[in-house]
Point group: D2
Chain length 340, copies 4
């Protein structure tokens, strides 16, 4: 069994890593850290996982990294890079923070407001959008998990930009996301009464996942691309749905996406004009994509939906870890969506 | 007291008319009809209104129209026009259905799939977007309530099209709405488990409120305008928020809307870059508008939000009825939003 | 106009006081304090109240109490009493905290774990269960608002204990409450994901509102009464529903409650075997009571429901303030429930 | 592979059977029926299961029962028995309806208002509360799945009644349940707006699951037992939590339940005074039980919670099917709860 540590295991993405890995035949959860909750049993912090035989939550300082094979790092950005840069070199790293997502460390400084904490490591890191960086991931030591919103937008758009099927100047990503993406740390804006019965835009002019869109879309198009990106908070736990407006030919877009994802287990392109919903991917590693005729001749609407805690973060992380260690790529990830 | 009948009072917009009129000093709710529930007391059908002294629900056939001054018609389309066309001429009519919204009866046939049931009456009807048709409404007999989605999109867009401040070819209205807009009639797609934890697009290529957009936007721009319009269903009871993408100058758009609505009690234009939410208009007759810089230079994002059951239908209806009868326009409509 | 200050106005009960008083013809909201948010406009903290002409939030220290007539104190317990004891004597006080609820200051120490901060004032305070202490309230200076759970249980039970219609040894109050009762201060257990899809008991062996039950039920029965009280948290914003199990005669219980509340505007006793719901009192000052036959011969189930932020706290407070100042008791409180 | 048909597969319990069996190594879903939706692909009816390779929905009349080994019958009561009585004798049956739950067919008539449709078969049927009827189930042909509310109440109470640790005259089961228990058939009372922000008792004096309580509790106690049972509807999809009031000794109750369920994988008795929640069993086959001190000396509160669609129906059904066919009892049922 591959020995895994999960740092930041008391947060939602951390707990989701624990939950999925506990049912995975290749990994053993041997260390879980959660600084503010160190000393507690995992079942006290997540009663839903009480029945599992898990180690107690510890502090990062107390971890013996010698016996570990892989570290999943679900810590806040900058804190993550600081810990990763001191890890023994035999350890492979899946980072779920934003620290290694941006190839250009100057962009990191621009978007995150501080110098990159480990610029030398950035060079080794691969962007973890599995279906596009599979071979690089297999040979890497550090995989940077993508932003959950970023992944939702990229699955439909990268192939279309690569094939030059849409106008790169006219892309709008209108996105709505469940609350779990904001984490488990208490803040006024995510308490129940502030979210319920409310649908609310946030970070409209500048969301950090935009930096990932800039990077990957420009690469795909072979020239600088900047999209309009408007995220909204939804009164629900899980799920992201992006409503993407593009200019291009409906049928060619459909054909291109169908072909691109024909052999991808986790990316499901629906038949033309199928409407999708967040509730149909909840609890799974799937991304659903639907291409639809809009109410205006020259505009095509593409819907893309995934579970932010799974395909948008922890499921993606495990998919990448499977690649890193030569396991079946779908190991531990075949759970069917839970509806209702 | 002005004697009012509410037809279709057992539905959500009907009950909302009853609720607001019961606290209105100018109207008396003297008749409530609800065919499938006729014979029941109103408090049995809406226990929240049990304390009010209301008539029993009756059938439309049993109504003595002689003593009535106004009929609020919250019936399904076509059924509504059929009843309205036979009403005594002394009765003023506020229709909440779609039957009299489209000036051109051919458009009605195109969008609703049947001949208009009362083409002669269409000529007398005024489109009920109060802030734009105030003087016509005062002098009319039939006011056609707007679609709730339509109103949400029109408040910010009509002034900008009238003043030629945005490109009419490049308007996208991405809209999300609470479930109460779908009415109280049981259908699988609105049962709790089908809505909860789901954010789902619907009627993407062809929503009937688009016909209203076509009509009013073309009129405002002085030439045919067709927008991209994508509605989504939200897991919440009330509230619509439109996220509108336009091409124009940020500050001029802000100035124009501030000026246009400076003296309008119910339309609140927020200061530049303010983010708004459905939960801040719930239970009120307000429409909140926020103009924001987007993540892309040439795109401006405008948010518009209202309570679909009030400013989007029943509150609007009463605002128009106040005009019809020469009452203060805000009578009965000053309730503050209920949050949380 | 009676000049009112609302201390702790940035919390939910404070904001609800502001909302209701803003539509009240007898009071003027002249001061609003909210320490952590002092300096902000009220509309920034509650965008739903942005349209009102309200003073900025200030610190308690900065208030000039000289020109005030009444202080509504929506502060945490102990902090509340500390401020109230130094107020000028001409000011009347409505306290929404727990500080003056318990007649016996030793009980305060027992339940709140500290010496009562103002034992001399306790003597002047009246327990604010309006329908039972009306005459005392009219003549008092300090009214102690009841616990919201406490009020829900007391409305049906006090009359029955007074009339000796139920066995005081066999009372069980099973209660469920919306999240707004926990306030607006961020805590992990009230963030959206921790509440949604969860129904969870809390404070099962010892909830502080039990001290109020002890006091009032013992007084009503003329001997010590202790009930079984089990609160649960609901995934909804507002509303409390108590399911109360008693031993007594069904019809006599019904008759007694009907008679007791016949002339009470805000306490509605439904006809026998009517099932009630939190959603039918939301946004109103009503308490609904339903007496029902249970599945077991000797047990009667009584349901009692109110909106915790209104009849359970801020509406009750204003009802009491109306009495204090000789206004109509229902002034400002006639809003009809908002459903859906 | 054991060939299974699921009748009524378009309902929630039917679809949950499909979902779980699709990931089960011992069964093949070879037939799915859903009369009103026959002819549709399963993915059209449940897009969350679109990726599975499933047969189309058919009518019961079109099923060739010859090649089947087991029928899971998720049909309405009476319809279920009518079909089951004509099945070939080689087919084993797991019935999720109420038709075979009551040993005494007179009781069926009393509670369901009609003659039992297959009294001869009733003799062969075993009540499917796995942990209490394991050996009978192994040797039976027809297993009657329990009511979901019934199972929630029985797990903690049967052992205590068997051991005479509680007063059988003084049992109160206050229960709250998510909406999915009401099925997928559209009815006004389960549409989103009627459920959201509402907590509502139902069937207070007479819920059909009471007949199961009567039967099993009387059997356990060795004398007639009737409990007070009050179900409530919750604004959430899944989950039941029973709050059970009993008279007995706290520690002896805890010890008894711990001992009884020590070797039961799916029944987790928490340590004394642990509070449990529906959200911690969601998506799993677990039942959580917590024994707690109440606020009154002689009353003990016991909480019991399970996922109504899994341990309360479809998971239980598969657990019983595993027994029927000699498979590992937990096959297909080891999924960890999904939280948040």
């Amino acid at each position: 069994m591959i020995q895994a540590a999960i740092l930041g295991a008391s947060g939602y993405t951390g707990a989701e890593l624990v939950r999925i890995l506990a049912g995975h035949s290749g990994f053993e959860v041997s260390v879980v850290s959660g600084d503010s909750k160190s000393g507690l049993s995992f079942g006290e912090v997540y009663p839903s996982l009480k029945h599992l035989n898990l180690p107690k939550l510890c502090s990062v300082e107390d971890i013996n990294f010698g016996k570990l094979d892989v570290v999943f790092c679900a810590l806040p950005h900058t804190k993550s890079a600081h810990i990763i840069k001191d890890l023994p070199k035999h350890i492979k790293v899946i980072d779920l923070s934003a620290d290694f997502r941006l190839t250009d460390v100057n962009k990191y400084e621009e978007w995150y407001g501080m110098k990159h904490p480990a610029p030398n490591l950035q060079i080794q890191a691969v962007y973890g959008l599995t279906e596009f960086y599979r071979s690089e991931i297999k040979n890497s030591r550090i995989v940077a998990g993508t932003g959950c919103n970023a992944a939702t937008g990229m699955y439909p758009l990268i192939p279309l930009l690569q094939e030059n099927l849409i106008d790169p100047e006219e892309i709008i990503i209108n996105l709505a996301t469940g609350v779990s993406g904001a984490g488990r740390k208490a803040k006024e804006e995510i308490i129940y009464c502030e979210v319920s019965e409310g649908y609310t835009p946030y970070n409209v002019s500048r969301h950090r996942h935009l930096a990932e869109f800039d990077q990957e879309f420009s690469k795909a198009a072979g020239k600088p691309v900047r999209v309009t990106f408007t995220p909204h908070l939804l009164p629900q736990n899980r799920g992201i749905l992006a409503t993407i407006y593009v200019k291009g030919d409906l049928q060619r877009i459909q054909n291109s996406l169908e072909k691109r994802y024909m052999d991808e287990e986790f990316i499901n392109v629906m038949s033309l004009n199928t409407l999708i919903s967040t509730r149909h991917v909840r609890g799974s590693n799937f991304c659903h994509i639907g291409v639809c005729e809009s109410s205006k001749k020259d505009v095509v609407v593409i819907f893309s939906s995934l579970d932010n805690l799974i395909k948008g973060s922890s499921g993606q992380a495990i998919q990448n870890a499977n690649l890193l260690f030569g396991l079946e790529e779908n190991s531990g990830l075949v759970a069917t969506p839970l509806f209702p």
